[in-house]
């Protein structure tokens, strides 16, 4: 080994890996050879190995026996009912989902086409309201005046014609 691992931080990982026993045999042998003449590396590796051993002292402890039961209960509580209903069907839906979706689409489209109404039925319009002319009294009076004037005019034009009212 030409370069001391302690010279750069990047190289220190080699010593960390060595202390953790994660180096290949060849690389570890090369490092050990280097450490014989390098007090800094030797000291670092020894200190790191002590840390490693101390951390190994902190062993795992048993997980509660009811951990799974609590978890599945929590899953059941927090999972939607539709999810629970669909869960057993999911493999089938996933595998056959596309054909089923396509078939369902065709059925819906066919239904829409067959059921289409011939022509839209417009709502019948109400009959037009009858126009009732309301004749005002003044209009009647004018009409009678006009008739009288026409009668007088007729008498003037044709004096021999007998008055029909006098016949």
């Amino acid at each position: 080994m030409t370069k001391c691992p302690m010279e750069t931080r990047e190289q220190t990982e080699l010593l960390l890996a060595y202390s953790a026993g994660r180096l290949s045999r060849d690389v570890a042998a090369g490092l050990e050879q280097h450490m014989e003449g390098c007090a800094a590396c030797r000291e670092f590796a020894q200190g790191q190995q002590k840390v490693w051993q101390a951390l190994e002292f902190w062993e795992e402890t048993p997980v509660s026996a009811d951990f799974d039961r609590r978890l599945y209960r929590r899953i059941e509580e927090r999972t939607g009912w539709w999810d629970r209903v669909l869960l057993p069907l999911r493999p089938m839906l996933v595998r056959r989902g596309l054909p089923i979706a396509a078939a369902a689409g065709l059925v819906v489209m066919a239904g829409v086409l067959l059921d289409r109404p011939a022509a839209p039925v417009l709502p019948s319009q109400p009959p037009p309201a009858q126009v009732v002319e309301v004749t005002q009294p003044e209009q009647v009076e004018h009409a009678l005046d006009d008739l009288e004037m026409l009668s007088e005019f007729n008498d003037l034009v044709t004096p021999d014609t007998p008055d029909p009212s006098k016949i």
Binding site: E10, V51, W58
Partner: protein
């Protein structure tokens, strides 16, 4: 495993790990595969969280939340990374949030409290003497204090490196930082631990 998974996602998953394949089966609705994943990772997740939080009850609660989130995310799961990277990312996120939410105080109380909620470890001798048990408890307490004294990210990095035997690249993905940042975190963390624990061995 169904043909669909084999053809569409299987290649990616197989390139990653068996856990990812199991998770894809969970995605398809295979509850048994979720059970397999739980059996495989329950212990490591609980202990990672316990060593982070240093409170057994809280660690188990958080571990439950981790697996609940895994289960609830099954429909959107994509095997883009190793399953354990995803799993420990969730666990680390929850642990850091829990610590920042003030639960750290509770764990500190636990450390200060001589009584422990953990079962006493049985030494190799089936009947350890009182003295041996006391020495063990004192050493364990020292290790726990030393780890608890590390900054949160350094602690997470050390726990993943030491106990989960994760590579730098995987720790980087879990902590969402660069590999060189992980090396720096580990270097500083081990430096602190060497100062605190070197006398123990």
């Amino acid at each position: 495993m169904s043909e669909r998974v084999k053809t569409s996602m299987g290649a990616t998953a197989a390139a990653l790990d068996y856990d990812a394949e199991l998770m894809l089966r969970v995605k398809e609705g295979d509850g048994a595969s979720f059970g397999v994943l739980l059996d495989k990772h329950r212990s490591s997740v609980v202990h990672f969280l316990y060593r982070m939080i240093q409170n057994h009850a809280v660690a188990e609660e958080l571990a439950q939340e981790v697996f609940l989130r895994v289960y609830r995310s099954r429909s959107t799961y994509e095997p883009t990374a190793k399953f354990t990277t995803w799993l420990f990312r969730i666990a680390t996120h929850l642990a850091l949030n829990s610590l920042r939410d003030g639960k750290k105080e509770r764990s500190q109380e636990r450390l200060d409290d001589d009584s422990t909620d953990l079962p006493v470890r049985q030494l190799s001798d089936s009947r350890p003497s009182v003295e041996q048990a006391m020495v063990y408890q004192a050493r364990l307490e020292e290790v726990r204090r030393a780890v608890a004294g590390l900054p949160e990210k350094q602690r997470a990095a050390v726990l993943m490196h030491k106990y989960e035997e994760m590579e730098y690249s995987q720790i980087a993905k879990v902590l969402n930082c660069s590999e060189s940042a992980v090396k720096s975190l580990l270097f500083r963390a081990y430096e602190t631990l060497r100062a605190r624990l070197a006398h123990m061995a």
